[in-house]
């Protein structure tokens, strides 16, 4: 390692530090300030102390949004289980496997708006799902899938899972290819069958990737927006049945122009994310200790 540098490191860092300062650090400080004000973006903010926070904790829609965001976290274990399984399957050396791997990645690159629109059409009253179910005789009358309060969130979660599996399985595939072949040979000699081999060798070997995916997919689940926006046609669904934290933040800030109030929601979301990240970092450190 070399020492005694003065200006040079800062010249390399300058563009990043300036950009992150203006577009991340300053906005976070400003949002903290706005959360204590009555602000509509047009007129200057007026200091109102803790009023926004008091209002937030008494706001039923806020609690609903918070509940929905926590429910959304269920996608994380499901995504991990399914994408580990898929990674194990596509790790087989079969002819043409590259084509399959590429196909599984299609949703990850297509963009949430295009995906959301295609799903909206599938689950429309006149959509494919109803058509198939009626053909099979499962249902007589078409179901208004996205107009059922109890179904909006599950359909959005299904979409997130469907779109995420291909992407995350690439990460697990990279992990699997780093596991030494000898470990599998040893398991085979000990008489392990296919399933036992993966349970005792693949899963422990994938631990760092599992922790990594748990972190990024749960943070993504906490801030889900696009899926809800498209599936509910920017309404948040009947009876706010699809409203999540970020969706509610967006509605308060940019639909209703309650920027001060939205800033308070943002601070609560930030606090939740921080607690979450601390737990995640602990997990990460433990994972590194094992590996």
């Amino acid at each position: 390692m070399t020492t005694r540098f003065h200006a040079t490191p800062w010249l390399f860092l300058a563009p990043s530090v300036a950009l992150i300062g203006v577009f991340v650090v300053y906005p976070i400080l400003a949002v903290v300030y706005y959360s204590f004000t009555d602000y509509d973006i047009v007129r200057p903010p007026v200091w109102i102390g803790l009023d926004n926070f008091i209002k937030v904790f008494g706001d039923e829609t806020f609690w609903l949004a918070l509940t929905h965001s926590f429910i959304y976290l269920i996608v994380t274990p499901i995504i991990i289980a399914l994408s580990v399984a898929l990674a194990i399957v596509v790790n087989r050396k079969l002819r043409g496997i590259q084509i399959y791997r590429a196909l599984y990645f299609v949703p990850a690159v297509s963009g949430s708006i295009a995906i959301g629109l295609s799903w909206r059409w599938l689950f429309d009253r006149n959509g494919f799902i109803n058509g198939i179910l009626q053909t099979l005789g499962v249902i007589k009358e078409p179901i208004q899938w996205l107009a059922e309060p109890g179904l909006v969130l599950p359909i959005a979660m299904l979409l997130t899972i469907w779109a995420g599996i291909g992407y995350y399985s690439v990460i697990f595939l990279a992990g699997l290819q780093n596991i030494p072949e000898e470990l599998y040979d040893a398991a085979r000699i000990d008489g392990a069958n296919d399933l036992q081999k993966h349970w005792h060798v693949s899963l422990p070997g994938l631990r760092p990737q599992i922790v990594f995916v748990a972190v990024i997919s749960s943070l993504a689940a906490l801030k889900v927006f696009d899926e809800i926006y498209v599936l509910t046609g920017r309404t948040g669904g009947i009876l706010d049945s699809g409203v999540t934290m970020v969706f509610y933040l967006w509605r308060q800030a940019f639909q209703l122009h309650h920027a001060g109030y939205a800033a308070a929601i943002a601070i609560v979301l930030l606090a939740i994310t921080l607690v979450f990240s601390i737990v995640n970092v602990r997990l990460l450190e433990r994972g590194q200790g094992d590996a």
């Binding site: 390692m1 070399t2 540098f5 490191p9 800062w10 390399f12 860092l13 563009p15 990043s16 530090v17 950009l19 992150i20 203006v22 650090v25 300053y26 906005p27 976070i28 949002v31 706005y34 973006i41 399957v89 596509v90 087989r92 079969l94 002819r95 496997i97 590259q98 399959y100 590429a102 196909l103 599984y104 990645f105 299609v106 949703p107 690159v109 297509s110 963009g111 708006i113 295009a114 629109l117 295609s118 599938l122 109803n130 058509g131 198939i132 053909t135 469907w162 690439v170 990594f212 906490l222 927006f225 926006y229 967006w250 800030a253 940019f254 800033a263 943002a266 979301l269 930030l270 994310t273």
Partner: protein, 302 residues
């Protein structure tokens, strides 16, 4: 990865000469049956993955005489037509959306990769006062959801930078990303210090070391970062939807959302719009996927 067939004895056997195949007919049959099972699973998953897009493509080709809702659903259009595409192109400047998306994504990708690769060098390879502070500051910004910053960023865009409703409004805030800086820092840390010291002995300055030694070595990581940034930027929706309202300024996802409100129940046209936007990014990804997967694997290993 090398050719998969060369690694798999079963596949090699399939391709081998006839006598050898006859030598173990039972084993070969069992292997074939097992593989057929795996192919069935793989194909089923692929169908689930691709079907929504396939359904969009088929719907977009349907003419007025083809039912879009029927029991059973009509899969193949009876009267295929490109009229839906024409209608979308006539009522919305889709080509302009494309152009805007390309301008934004190319600027963001190129500049972000440059800025991140610059910042990663001192963080990985230099010792100086304040390095830890910068490092932890970046780490902290990684945790904060970007959506939290949108209210102040909106105010900045309108009152300070005056780029509201124009492409710079979606380019500038995306030019630096802590995530990319970390990936590049990991890549630089893998380069042996001896190499840098040797260059310094030869009298090379830090900028030359960065450009002529480090950058060429970590090219695969730069490629992965660039592809990842490009796809993310191409698909970014929430911030662009807050900034871009004039039709001549919209990027593709924002334009698609506008398409949805314009053709609310005309599914043939919406399907045409979705198909038009998905196909190019898919083609792009097919071309670059080798570099992406390799770079991703390398970045996560480090």
């Amino acid at each position: 990865m090398t050719d998969a067939r060369a690694l798999d004895p079963a596949q090699a056997a399939l391709g081998a000469a006839l006598p050898r195949r006859r030598a173990r007919p039972r084993r070969r049959a069992r292997q074939l049956a097992a593989n057929a099972g795996w192919y069935a699973v793989l194909t089923a998953v692929a169908l689930i993955t691709v079907f929504p897009f396939l359904w969009m493509l088929l719907t977009s080709l349907k003419g007025p005489a083809d039912p879009i809702a029927s029991v059973p659903p009509q899969l193949i259009p009876g009267h295929p037509t490109l009229n839906n595409y024409q209608r979308v192109l006539q009522s919305l400047p889709v080509l302009q959306f494309f152009q805007n998306s390309i301008v934004v994504s190319v600027c963001v990708t190129g500049l972000n990769a440059l800025v991140s690769t610059l910042a990663a060098y001192p963080l990985a390879k230099m010792r100086f006062r304040g390095r830890e502070a910068v490092f932890y500051l970046l780490l902290a910004t990684l945790i904060v959801p970007a959506q939290l910053t949108y209210i102040p960023s909106f105010v900045l865009a309108v009152n300070v930078f005056h780029y509201y409703d124009s492409l710079p409004a979606v380019i500038f805030p995306s030019l630096a990303s802590a995530f990319n800086i970390f990936l590049m820092r990991q890549a630089f840390r893998g380069v042996p210090n001896d190499l840098l010291d040797a260059a310094r002995v030869d009298g090379a300055g830090e900028w030359r070391i960065w450009w002529q030694i480090l950058v060429p070595i970590v090219r695969p990581s730069i490629a992965a970062v660039a592809i990842f940034t490009f796809v993310t930027s191409w698909n970014d929706f929430l911030w662009p939807s807050l900034m871009l309202h004039d039709r001549t300024q919209m990027t593709l996802p924002v334009g698609l959302a506008a398409l949805q409100s314009q053709f609310s129940s005309d599914f043939r046209s919406i399907a045409a719009g979705v198909t038009m936007t998905v196909v190019p990014i898919l083609l792009f990804f097919i071309v670059v996927q080798r570099w992406f997967v390799r770079g991703l694997a390398g970045a996560l290993k480090g």
